[in-house]
Amino acid sequence: MDFLANANWLYMYMPIAGVKIFWPGLVLIGFSVGVIGGFFGMGGAWMVTPGLNILGFPMAFAIGTDIAHIAGKSMISTMRHSKFGNVDYKLGFIMLVGTMVGIELGAQLIMMLERIGKVGSVVRWVYVGFLALIALMVFYDYYKAVQKKKSGEAEGDRGAEGITWYKALHRLNIPPMVHFKTAGFTCSAWLPIMVSFLTGVLAGFLGIGGGLLRMPALVYLIGCPTHIAVGTDLFEVMISGLYGAFTYTLKGRIELVAVFVMLTGAAIGAQIGTVATKYSKGYGIRVAFGFAVLGCMVSIILKQYGFTNSATVLILGTISVICIYIMKIMFQGAAQELREKRRTEMLGS
């Protein structure tokens, strides 16, 4: 550690936050969040903020810097997902309106609660409640899908599925009915607007970007195939991230130098995470997402009871394990694809 402490070149001065930061740590955070965000289709604020705080960023700067970096990183991931055909832009734009209005309403609700002195731990427990619900939903869905597959129940065009609430919601016939070509279904435009509005309110209320809530909402309530939910959600995160970056910068709580350093790491990570989705089945992504949500939930509970260090260790540990898992999927899948390609070329010649 003395070697690191004396190596001034490893520390970069942040002119606005007024602190010296270990920049390889910033690159590493950007890289791992890029991997995870590109794979699950979310920004990853719940991972970045504690990481930046550990590196020495004051909390207010950690949040604002994180949001700006998420916007840039999501742009990189969206570009890659778009090439795979994983982004339904029509769906993304329709949901954007609901998301933005919802986030602002949620933020106003928080300020109202703050004024009457009722914020306290309410927000954290609401967050924990929703994360528990999402984790339960994801694992129950997987359990049901496995049972259906084992019993040989007739599969749809997506294979055996567990939770299919979206099928009932698609039958709501409230005009205008819109066909989403990339996602492959037709439904009332009010469905994605209302779902995105509700997830937006929750996100604004909880002070998060919303990807963690919106991705499962896209899958279970709107009926997107998992890969398209990932790509479309990243498109939304990109737009709402740019908007969040603007509003946080107006409040003076962003460190642009750190954003650029993290983006450099995220550029590589996002490619790995996004390409890994190609080699992963939808349920593989869902189950890994469930574990990420569990890790996040437990760390918030630990923080709530004052075990801040343990919460941070848990979050960073969860990020590392999931990141390594996703990288393994990507490198193994890519190696397999290249081997098959070479075999085909040899047979052809």
Binding site: Y13, G72, M79, R158, E161, A270, Q271, V275
Partner: protein, 99 residues
């Protein structure tokens, strides 16, 4: 023509919804916030320019922040796209298999 008008109307509606949101989000009222001042004495070149801009014109700094973040993100996306293309992997198709 009808398609173009529909899309234009959608964009205008979105803009009408976003303008009050930006004003709402910019805050206003309540306690005076803590003012952060960037230390421009020890930075040079472009960092000095942006630190000074942060101190003197936060709105322009915010616009630059968004534009530069989007531009750098787009630039890195293009570069990484080219580099990934050199790996020989098929990056244009994937099978959607849920289970």
């Amino acid at each position: 023509m009808k398609n173009v008008i529909t899309k234009l109307l959608a964009l205008v509606t979105m803009a009408c919804l976003m303008v009050p949101e930006v004003l709402w989000a910019a805050g206003g009222g309540g306690d005076a916030p803590i003012v952060v001042v960037a230390d421009t004495r020890i930075v040079h070149g472009i960092l000095h320019y942006f630190s000074n801009l942060y101190n003197t014109n936060l709105l322009l700094f915010a616009i630059w922040a968004v534009v530069l973040t989007a531009a750098y993100g787009g630039f890195l996306g293009l570069i990484m796209d080219k580099l990934m293309g050199l790996t020989g992997l098929d990056l244009k198709s994937r099978k959607i298999v849920e289970h």
